[in-house]
Symmetry: C2
Subunit: 682 residues, 2 copies
Amino acid sequence: MTVTTAAPPPRADHGDPQIAERAATAIRMLAADAVEKAKSGHPGAPLGMADIAVALWGVNGGGVVHHNPANPSWPDRDRVVLSNGHASMLLYALLHLTGYDLSAADLAAFRQFGSRTPGHPEVDQTPGVETTTGPLGQGLANGVGFALAEKILAETFNRPDHAIVDHHTWVLLGDGCLMEGISHEVASLAGRLGLGKLICLYDDNGISIDGAVEGWFSDDTPARFRAYGWQVIEGVDGHEISAVSLALTEAKADALRPTLICCRTVIGQGAPTKAGGHDVHGAPLGAAEIAAMRESLNWPYAPFEVPEDIRAACDARPAGAALEAAWRARFAAYQSAYPELAAEFERRLASTFPADFAQTEEALFADLIAAGTVASRKASQLAIRRLAPALPELLGASADLTGSNLTDWPGAARINDGPAGRYLSAGVREFGMAAVLNGMALHGGFIPFGGTFLVFSDYSRNAIRLAALMRRRVIHILTHDSIGLGEDGPTHQPVEHAASLRLIPNLAVWRPGDAFETAVAWSAALRRADGPSALLLSRQNLPAQSFDGDRRAAASRGGYTLSARPQPRAIILASGSELGLATAAQALLDGEGIAVNVVSVPCLELFLSQPKDWIDAVLPPDLPRLAVEAAHPDPWWKVVGLEGAVIGMDRFGESAPAPELFAHFGFTPAAVAARLRDLLAK
Amino acid sequence: MTVTTAAPPPRADHGDPQIAERAATAIRMLAADAVEKAKSGHPGAPLGMADIAVALWGVNGGGVVHHNPANPSWPDRDRVVLSNGHASMLLYALLHLTGYDLSAADLAAFRQFGSRTPGHPEVDQTPGVETTTGPLGQGLANGVGFALAEKILAETFNRPDHAIVDHHTWVLLGDGCLMEGISHEVASLAGRLGLGKLICLYDDNGISIDGAVEGWFSDDTPARFRAYGWQVIEGVDGHEISAVSLALTEAKADALRPTLICCRTVIGQGAPTKAGGHDVHGAPLGAAEIAAMRESLNWPYAPFEVPEDIRAACDARPAGAALEAAWRARFAAYQSAYPELAAEFERRLASTFPADFAQTEEALFADLIAAGTVASRKASQLAIRRLAPALPELLGASADLTGSNLTDWPGAARINDGPAGRYLSAGVREFGMAAVLNGMALHGGFIPFGGTFLVFSDYSRNAIRLAALMRRRVIHILTHDSIGLGEDGPTHQPVEHAASLRLIPNLAVWRPGDAFETAVAWSAALRRADGPSALLLSRQNLPAQSFDGDRRAAASRGGYTLSARPQPRAIILASGSELGLATAAQALLDGEGIAVNVVSVPCLELFLSQPKDWIDAVLPPDLPRLAVEAAHPDPWWKVVGLEGAVIGMDRFGESAPAPELFAHFGFTPAAVAARLRDLLAK
């Protein structure tokens, strides 16, 4: 470790090591008692990281984390991420001790139904929890997103002598996070982007669930992170609060590189007989061990009881109030100097649209009506071109498929070239990109979107799921959405992916049938502030459909009658590239005197959530139904019933030009018409 | 680069650099012409790697790859993996030139329907293609699996002076593979396991689709791989065949560490104006560029024409025949010395079961009948305990959840401790593990299985998909398969995963309802040689169900009437942990005089593939149907129809003890009975 300053560094304990150590003991006992009471949980990591936590949050106003427990949504607070989310009791204990609205009773309800202390940290469930963690590695990725958001907002809004955006992101992580592939993706990106305000503390306890990690994880982790361009501070004794404090100070001193602080720790430190073993990871310590622990740590207090002197020392509200007050004073000065910027900053953080957003949407619809026959990926790009100048919070990305996903726009400076950019070439890192965008959405100030091929949503799937669970607005642009991808073949052709994404609760999946519906999808995704959306877009051109009436209102229901016939005998439902196929089949059937309605379903789950009268009007109960989608048929059976039929794909595709594939797999007007005739003949 | 031997290394060109360079030109022109004719494809990487390829395969019997084009399934051949699968024409050109059964006409049909030269390499479609690649990073992971398989088989079968298993695995990869997170997972593992016969060639051309990679990928890759414990040979000129040859020789000399050879190349090398730019990556060069290329490379031949001297120099059949003959002589000697071992080796490679396998299965069923009420994860472990001693090809793994997945067995030595092991603690690397197991299944000699929590199949999903596409037998043990996981909460509770896995074509998804059905699932997964299976298993105990008749035959159909009543008025279908719930509801309804049958559906897709008479007998068309599964309801609508009902979960779970969650979400006998009554009242 190189010491970068001659001045004595600030000490987290403010010169009172005894109270700091007792605070660590309080954390340990709260964690152990909560897990014991819940009869399940993970004591190992909270016990092992208690000293690190005290160094980070401090006592008596020490510590490095800038936060105000009285206001967990203060915009310029530091963000703290517990990437090893199973250590949730560490975080809950700290939030409790530092003065967040989290009582001893809340801690005692750990892992119980409806409590504010779920098994893994969940954002919006607990004041002070910044993101939902547990699936390993993603907390680190969220942290990269937080730090990137801070950096871009600072570049955008700060002015000389007015640093209104100036906070750090602290990530606690363990071996598991570092083994996961996503840690590579996002650490590499963070190093490249020079996220100097990202500081990660590695709980290097040498133990994972299967035992001593040396059997399966022998990386030279410091060397690995140096290879990414990080500052690495290694060999820190994670049970020496002052040593961790010193490392934290050194970490902050490097503004150009993210920092990894490698803390050697003992898992379950403080548990008299179980510390250091893997059994302490994920099971209660047991009454005897806890009693012995109370004894050996000199902790005569009842479970969830904390003596007043420790409470007072840990209470971060006074210091937090001062920090926030100072920031508010700075912000007031900024407001005076830059009233428009200040208003824009507040708008961005409040997540409201610009006053002229409705006009922007009108222009967007006009653009896409004028677009005519284009691929829906191209229609999406036209939407982005209209939206990006009007919505500065819109931030785009692609996992190295910009020219294919069509996610960029003219004049979109790349973040890769500096924080004045708004477009990220994320590299071939689908999962990392999605989880970084989650972090940016959580931070606030951004509506992030990212592109890849639909088939590679497999790689990013769990990050999409977490956005849905966290109810955060991230927009996924998933192009090349069927065998229409063509020659690249079955490894690149999605089959099950539309169906599979629709299964994720709270994810809106749009598969627009033409440019107009792409406008509807973009508009809905932007307005859906409480959850992610996925736009499944075609590589190939889609004919523009015509409609009599207010198509925008109709399509915004997720499903509507695009083309009606008098006395229809059946319904053809379709989405995306099969919408044009359905109308072509309808025309064929018209020629045979068979009247059928075509129902467009750009967002199936949204359609099925409409009032019954809308659904019944679109799908009169007595009419047989045929659904057509070049994808797995499963989602459609709940719409067509056993009496209906689905033309879909339940096998892998092939490498060939797209038109041949559509013909081979039965996606032709003639085949659809034939199937409809069969249905009527039943 | 350190030279480890004083002797002059073998040269790929056998002293004739001119013919070697012309061979590289042949590869370039074949690739460029094939992409041009297909009007789509990726010329950049084949052109950039042509010289590396010549160094690897050699001319005039040089090169380092031990293969015999006349017999692509020779057991001791080297395995070559093209991890950057979009460079498929590089591989096809080589297979063609070295004498595999791949004609010029096959090359001319590149990316056309039904051809043997699909857009990305697909195993079993093209002789000499060892694995299906395209989704980046997974080829490298397959390569790790190949090398691990070789190492374990060598340890198992080789005897002093009898090296019957002794081959290398060569992986070609690009920037994209190295950006993907899975590269971290498997390179870390390969370093730890000391896979000295794994040699990777990195096509370091500095370009990916979005442009120059330095904007998003500035890793010190050599330092990164050294941190994993690899030998790294850097700074090799990838267009200097002799330099690459020297590096290959050095790579082979290190038997203890995997090697990464970093080759500096120019993407599209040989294309006069387009080389070095990202436009050459994924689009045809165009007629003018190709004409200029013919000129500048002095290649006067027609597309797909190769002059005889180059053909003769590249033909690897004579050398290959000699290599294979030498191995066959070694194997004959081995057979004489160790006839039983030799027979066992042949059995393993032929993928046939031991002669006593039927008895093993009987014992397995007896064990699981005796097991009574256990969690299905525990039943699975009992199955493994019975199977592992009897099936030496069975190889287990877990992504750091061994004690939770219950994937190990007594006496299972860990591969982490040496290649005599049969159980891999894979670390927290779900995706890497799954793709490594794919490689082992592809290699032959193993039936690999790996465990993680069901929810984390999200991480490994695309590798499961590729096993299904490749039709390879890999068994996924996915435990904690519902909200029955309990307190860990919604990040760890699968909701959409059973439905989502069932969507993957050619994946058998089993969710057994008790110990007996777990035996059926294990038996079916083992006997399913042409595809992967996923076993979705409970954390919590499941009551053993009773059955009158041949339950094994019935359950092997995927769905069957577990419990019939005279004149039933309805059917309750269930899987997994909800099977006991269904029978409990049946008993409640019995008490009310409402007779219902309970249908167990441990494998829904298998059930639906049965003959119509079986399905109609189990589900008489006139009886209303209620499906119960603590998972997303979507898969069941195609069974119950719009007149039926599903009790499922289409929202995220909660953190709480499992019994409370089941009650809260409506999974109680009373709730099921009530829903059934509603159904009858409709």
